[in-house]
């Protein structure tokens, strides 16, 4: 280390800033309590403070900030969905993501890579064209491309026809991006804390106080907290917390596993996804290959990793990138995901007055962090559900108006 840098670092004029200000003791009353200190909860806290001046807000997390699914996703951001509801929603999220580092004064390492969804069958080619046309109609950049163009974007991809599932084409989505997922949570947390929001870690909500169909507050491991409004943002445990508030959700909790390889020199610019082969892969800023696949076949509330998952994933991955046979897996993990029957989130009001929900984030939650935070903050502050998220209401299931977002996860369901 150069001596000058060491001297600079030790000078009293430039003291190290704390990332989060020291937090006061948990009070007994707040305007708004947010259950869940992941990206979505922290983003909602930030926009409540910034857009609506509501700063008497406590974010409660039973673990640590951004320690749940915010830290466990594969950090992919895109808007190439199939339904107009989904495309509009995620297009707004991308717009917010692009400006996020500036907005939060915190580098979230947003990196626009382009996103390729490979099609191995005629049916998949047709779906790709359908998605591309829906996207273009709504102003989102997507197009159907063929192997000659795919080769230019990903020279390392195996485009041979002599494989079990030859690549016939791909849905190319140039705005597809990755970002540092932890930084998104930390950036929102720091920016919210600067505006007076309180962040309380290791505070577990154990019950919801209710009377006459209204939420009055929460019971926690550090005492009772009364509040005007509550936001539940705990994807992975949504059914369990909703049960405390007295209602059920159309959610089934299953693990989603992922892994990263040892770091390699940069060779893979776009994010590559194959629905038929149930795999997706991208190269992180550190050079690690981030890989994931399908959710587990049955529901478990345990973030264990399994050999079966890795075998299935890698067998298909080697068909796309045969040279990865020489590469070692470095880390593996799993997150608990909220799967909904129509692959769309559950957002907005609930049967309990003053109790708002942000759940059902399946395999599509990280990329929605800014937009869900902003729109849930709007819902809580104004009491009105904005049109952008109105279709994601819990009540749609009672009206048999599911959304049917088959472009939700990049892999087959």
């Amino acid at each position: 280390m150069p001596f000058a840098l060491l001297k600079y670092g030790l000078k009293r004029e430039y003291p190290a800033e704390r990332h989060f200000p020291p937090q006061p003791e948990l009070k007994s009353t707040y305007d708004v309590v947010i259950i869940g200190g992941g990206g979505h909860g922290l983003a909602a806290a930030y926009y409540l403070a910034k857009d609506y001046g509501i700063t008497d807000v406590a974010v409660l997390d039973k673990g640590y900030l951004g320690g749940g699914n915010t830290a466990r996703n594969t950090a992919i951001i895109r808007a190439n969905y199939l339904t107009p509801e989904g495309v509009r929603f995620y297009a707004e999220s991308i717009a917010l993501f692009k400006e996020l580092s500036q907005e939060l004064d915190f580098n979230v390492l947003y990196s626009e890579r382009g996103h390729l969804t490979l099609a191995h069958t005629d049916a998949a080619v047709r779906t790709s064209r359908w998605r591309a046309e829906v996207n273009k109609h709504l102003g989102v950049d997507s197009e159907l491309i063929f192997p000659d163009q795919i080769r230019k974007l990903v020279p390392s991809l195996n485009l041979s026809e002599d494989v079990r599932y030859p690549i016939l084409g791909a849905l190319y989505h140039p705005p597809g991006a990755i970002a540092r997922h932890d930084a998104v949570a930390w950036g929102y947390a720091a920016a919210a804390a600067r505006r007076g929001v309180e962040l309380h870690q290791k505070v577990e909500v154990t019950g919801v106080l209710r009377a006459n169909g209204r939420a009055l507050g929460v019971e926690t491991t550090r005492g009772t907290v009364h509040c005007g409004r509550i936001l539940q943002a705990v994807s992975g445990s949504s059914s369990l917390v909703a049960a405390m508030a007295g209602f059920r959700l159309p959610i089934h909790t299953v693990p989603l596993q992922a892994c990263v390889s040892q770091p390699l020199k940069p060779f893979l610019d776009p994010i590559v996804v194959s629905g038929s082969l149930h795999t997706y892969i991208s190269q992180s800023a550190r050079g690690e290959l981030v890989m994931g696949g399908e959710t587990d076949p049955y529901g478990v509330y345990a973030d264990r990793s399994t050999l079966e998952f890795k075998e299935g994933l890698i067998a298909h991955m080697l068909e796309l990138f045969p040279f990865l046979a020489e590469i070692k897996v470095l880390r593996q993990w799993a997150g608990m995901v909220d799967m909904t029957p129509d692959f769309s989130p559950v957002m907005g009001k609930t049967p309990v007055e003053n109790y708002y929900i942000d759940a059902g984030w399946g395999t599509w939650g990280f990329k929605a962090t800014p937009v869900s935070g902003k729109r849930m903050a709007e819902t809580i502050a104004t009491g009105r559900v904005p049109e952008l998220i109105e279709r994601f209401r819990l009540g749609r299931f009672y009206e048999f108006k599911q959304i049917g977002e088959r472009g939700a996860a990049s892999v087959g369901h």
Binding site: S239, A243, I251, H252, G299, A302, F397
Partner: protein
């Protein structure tokens, strides 16, 4: 490899099975409200703990019931569905619906 003890086939690899979801007694479709039906179709208890579920062995087309712990990922007990369901469930369609169904089947030449 995780092993599922099948009441018909004995211990088999869990990849041979499909989970059919929570054992829920359906409301009578002829008499329940739309909200009750939606509740049955979509809403789930999604318990973290011991659950009772339908499971299906694909190769032998055999449905049975398994009790397992969703937190520890342990299978506690499996047994034939006849332990819980001793009587055949008969769904009686409402009068007008059954008549419409019969005339449709008659028009298309299918068996009623």
């Amino acid at each position: 490899m995780k092993i599922m003890p099948c009441p018909l086939n004995g211990p088999r690899n869990i990849s041979e099975f499909v989970c059919g979801g929570e054992v829920v007694i359906p409301p009578d479709p002829a008499r329940c409200s739309a909200a009750e039906w939606a509740d049955y179709v979509f809403m789930r208890d999604n318990v973290a703990g011991v659950v009772r579920e339908w499971w299906y062995h694909v190769a032998t087309a055999y449905w049975f019931i398994a009790e397992r712990d969703t937190v520890t990922d342990e299978i506690i007990r499996t047994y034939p569905a006849s332990e819980l369901f001793s009587k055949r469930v008969v769904f009686t369609a409402p009068e007008e619906a059954s008549e419409a169904g019969a005339s449709e089947a008659g028009a298309s030449g299918g068996k009623p």
